[in-house]
Amino acid sequence: MEITPGNQSELIHLEQDTFEGLEIERLKKASQATFSDPVEWMEGVPKGLLLTTVDAVLGWARKSSMWPAVCFPACCAFEFITAEASRWDLSRFGMEIVRASPRQADLMITAGTLTWKMAPQIKRIYDQMADPKWVIAMGSCAISGGIFASSYNVVPGYNHLFPVDVYVPGCPPRPEALIYGIQMLHKKIMQESARRKV
């Protein structure tokens, strides 16, 4: 088709659509297997007075100021918002700031069903987050795709895209469940070495 001033914007859209479709197909092909859950932290921190103290201080600092990235594709987001608001008050854990920029965030709470069309954006948010970073899969859809697991357009679990640290089951999980999951993650951060592999 010939490009004229009249149809220029339309053609740019067509080009973007084609590019997006190729990107989604590529990601879908590459994400057939799941990432295994990180287990290095279970071995505990290495022994030694100096290292242990540094690890403890760094772990405490990290767990006390975890800022979540904005990644709320579906309805679990409302439970997260409730947990964030005054009644459950996540700022008790130093988490009151939800960062719109993934570069300033440590924690991704994946609240909701993820479609393949949205997957490249979520993958990009994860890749843009600075290390160390953690992921909580919140709700059935985030864990395994939930009731949409065999659907044509839903990612069957976020662990197809990146490793997940804590799984919080529920449809949706109540804010208490999410807070429990966050506390589990705090414990995990306290146990893992500050020199964790990234």
Binding site: D17, L22, I24, K117, Y152
Partner: protein, 146 residues
């Protein structure tokens, strides 16, 4: 309270005005031939006392032997609703008349039906897929899609 209109009375009226429309009153809905769809919907929209000026929903259902298009009409001025259905036989090369010229809201819903069920609408101004990504193969809401 929203009134649900009795289809048999309306079918009798339509038969008087449009004799060759072949309208059937089933329990709860009007069944029309695809060829008569636009004229029946125009009649329902413009006749005083019916005034179905709003198409609240358009979708299609796969029954293996045929596809059934469902139009849920709403009258905002008279607060009444009504369902019109039409059937397309077969599974390949399905064409239905577009109702965009009557109800503007059918635009995106016909595009969605085209994309997910593979039914094409003749007379639609811009029948392109828009929900799934470019290069997606098949019509996912068909029963034989797996």
């Amino acid at each position: 309270m929203t009134k649900v209109l009795e289809p048999s009375a309306i079918a009798a009226k339509i038969k008087q005005t449009l004799p060759d429309s072949r309208v059937n009153a089933e329990s709860g809905y009007l069944l029309v031939e695809p060829a008569a769809l636009t004229s029946v919907l125009t009649y329902l929209k413009t006749t005083p006392g019916l005034e179905f000026d709003y198409l609240s929903m358009l979708t299609a259902v796969d029954y293996w032997d045929y596809f059934e298009l469902v139009y849920v009409l709403d009258s905002l001025s008279l607060n009444q609703i009504m369902t019109v259905k039409t059937r397309l036989q077969g599974r390949v090369d399905l064409w239905a008349p577009s109702v965009v010229s009557i109800y503007q809201t059918a635009d995106y819903q016909e595009r969605e039906t085209f994309e997910t069920l593979g039914i094409r609408f003749s007379g639609h101004p811009d029948l392109r897929p828009f929900l799934l990504w470019e290069g997606f193969q098949g019509n996912p809401l068909r029963k034989d899609y797996l």
